[in-house]
């Protein structure tokens, strides 16, 4: 089997947040067009398209005709929820390596926010009748993502002594980074007291433990490292990847809440990259909730299992800290584009284009995607340097 090194050569981002009046397909069109232009390519150069349709499932293979793409050699939707963006880069790399495509656009687009309605309504279920034993959790009241993550977070807190204040430290650090990100939706600094005083959404999770909800789209262009070298932007080389989908048993001895898919996916990506966790300079972690950042860092091995609380409270994640993490503000403070949030910031940091928030040492960036309630996990290790340079 051939193995062609790949790189992310283009990044396209629409206006993100409370942006109304556009459909997900329209957002996707703008993001893919922007990503191609960013790479110095035209839409005619794209011969592969991977589409992550977001929670609304509104965007699909018809995006091909929206973009007027001709003669694609690769076309598929990828629905791994929050792990999708990283999965798409992995599949694009494999397709390029196999000679199946040369220039693959990967796009996430969604528009869950409706004008005049709150963020909470964006992901609320409809009024469909609940049916069968599968719906018992929802019937009991476990309907929202915060409530489901709250039960997971509580389990970690009870097992390891993780505290709400430690979760708050994750939110404060993310906001510190966001103050320096012009694209971030939330740029007002917050304190730990602000976190503790924010209203409970689903105990133990408070408002400031929860991610934003955003409309928009982000796309990346993946191509061979050789081709990327001749394009408009500094290549962001793909060094390693991994996936892990734990399939927690709904049964005694389940690790649900205690260990995530990061525990397998992270080491696999590091092994493929030929590096260790100590070599990583920047972490872009899927942070749908503060707890997700904490458990992912733990499971990647940036600290010992159960010591994530102390680790994040040490200031390690914040600007000037020992382990710069979610350097754009993450999903908590910048924008919520599922896995494209951490991936886009990884590209910006690896290129050295993060301006005031640029981390000086950016040789290796680790990126995570997390979907479901810790059900799906994908990891990427990227670098501004070619793999064997």
């Amino acid at each position: 089997m051939s193995s062609t090194p790949t790189a992310i050569a283009g990044l396209g981002m629409t206006e993100l947040g409370r942006v109304y009046g556009r459909t997900p397909a329209q957002f996707a069109l703008e993001a893919v067009t922007g990503a191609a232009a960013d790479a110095g390519l035209s839409l005619d150069d794209i011969d592969g398209l991977l589409v992550n349709p977001g929670v609304g499932n509104d965007t699909d293979l018809r995006l091909q005709s929206t973009l007027q793409l001709r003669g694609l050699r690769l076309l598929s939707t990828v629905q791994g929820f929050g792990s999708s963006a990283i999965q798409m880069v992995q599949y694009a790399s494999m397709a390029i390596s196999a000679g199946m495509a040369e220039v693959v656009a990967c796009v996430y687009a969604d528009a869950p926010l409706k004008e005049g309605k709150g963020s909470g309504a964006a992901y609320a279920g409809g009024d469909r009748a609940l049916k069968g034993v599968e719906s018992l959790p929802a019937a009991a009241g476990l309907k929202s993502a915060p409530a489901r993550y709250a039960i997971a977070a509580r389990r970690h807190m009870e097992a390891y002594g993780t505290t709400s204040e430690q979760l708050g430290a994750v939110a404060v650090a993310a906001r510190q980074w966001a103050t320096m990100n012009p694209l971030a939706q939330m740029r007002e600094p917050i304190t730990l007291a602000d976190h503790q005083n924010s209203r409970l959404i689903a105990d133990p999770l408070r408002l400031l433990d929860c991610c934003l909800v955003s409309n928009g789209a982000i796309a990346v262009i993946v191509t061979s490292a050789d081709r990327a070298a001749d394009l408009a932007q500094p290549p962001v080389h793909v060094w390693g990847w991994g996936q892990s989908h734990p399939g927690y048993p709904n049964h005694r001895d389940s690790d649900f809440g205690l260990v995530s898919g990061a525990a397998q996916s992270g080491p696999a990506a590091l092994r493929m990259a030929g590096v260790t966790v100590d070599d990583i300079d920047i972490r872009e972690i899927y942070d749908c909730f503060t707890y997700t950042t904490l458990i992912t860092l733990e499971d990647y091995g940036f600290c010992a299992k159960g010591e994530g609380g102390e680790f994040v409270a040490s200031g390690a994640l914040a600007p000037g800290g020992s382990h710069p993490t979610n350097t754009g503000g993450g999903e908590l403070s910048s924008y919520y584009m599922w896995g494209m949030t951490p991936l886009s910031e990884a590209v910006i940091q690896a290129r050295g284009q993060a301006g005031q928030r640029q981390v000086a040492k950016n040789d290796l960036v680790m990126v995570s995607g997390n979907g479901g309630v810790l059900d799906f996990h994908a990891t990427l290790v990227v670098s501004p340097h070619a793999r064997n340079a």
Partner: protein
């Protein structure tokens, strides 16, 4: 009292698969899945044995005893100017092993805690089947 739970829980209707579960609930019996070949219990939604993947699952009556694994409290939001009660939902590990996600009906009387003993009861929200809920053992 479980009246509050009945009022605030979303009704569930049965499908062909779940009919024995809800028939059991109507009798006040908790039905779980059991694999005779492996001797292992699985959660109600399991189509194959969670331990052995055997396809010989059958519905059996469980003890209805369990303990609390984790939980969340979802604050009640005022409606029509009046406060509503908090919703407490937890993962209950049944004595047989499978987990159930259940409304906890008496968190105001007994504080939720990891390992707290739980007894499964049943309520019938209007328009739906009888469904299981969890009652925490009172503080001693």
């Amino acid at each position: 009292m479980t009246m509050g739970a009945e009022m605030s829980m979303t009704p569930v209707v049965r499908d062909e698969y779940s009919a024995p579960f809800f028939d059991g609930a109507e009798r006040g019996e908790l039905m779980l899945r059991y694999s005779p070949s492996s001797g292992c219990w699985s959660a109600p939604e399991a189509r194959v044995c969670a331990t052995s993947r055997a396809a010989d699952l059958e519905w059996r009556v469980a003890s209805g005893e369990g303990e609390l694994v984790s939980w969340t409290v979802i604050p009640g939001r005022p409606r029509d100017g009046r406060p509503t009660t908090d919703t407490v939902v937890g993962i209950v590990e049944t004595a047989e092993g499978p987990w159930l996600t259940l409304r906890i009906v008496n968190a105001d009387e007994a504080a939720p805690a990891v390992g707290a003993p739980v007894r499964v009861e049943f309520v019938r929200p209007e328009g739906g089947e009888s469904v299981p809920v969890a009652r925490l053992a009172a503080r001693s």
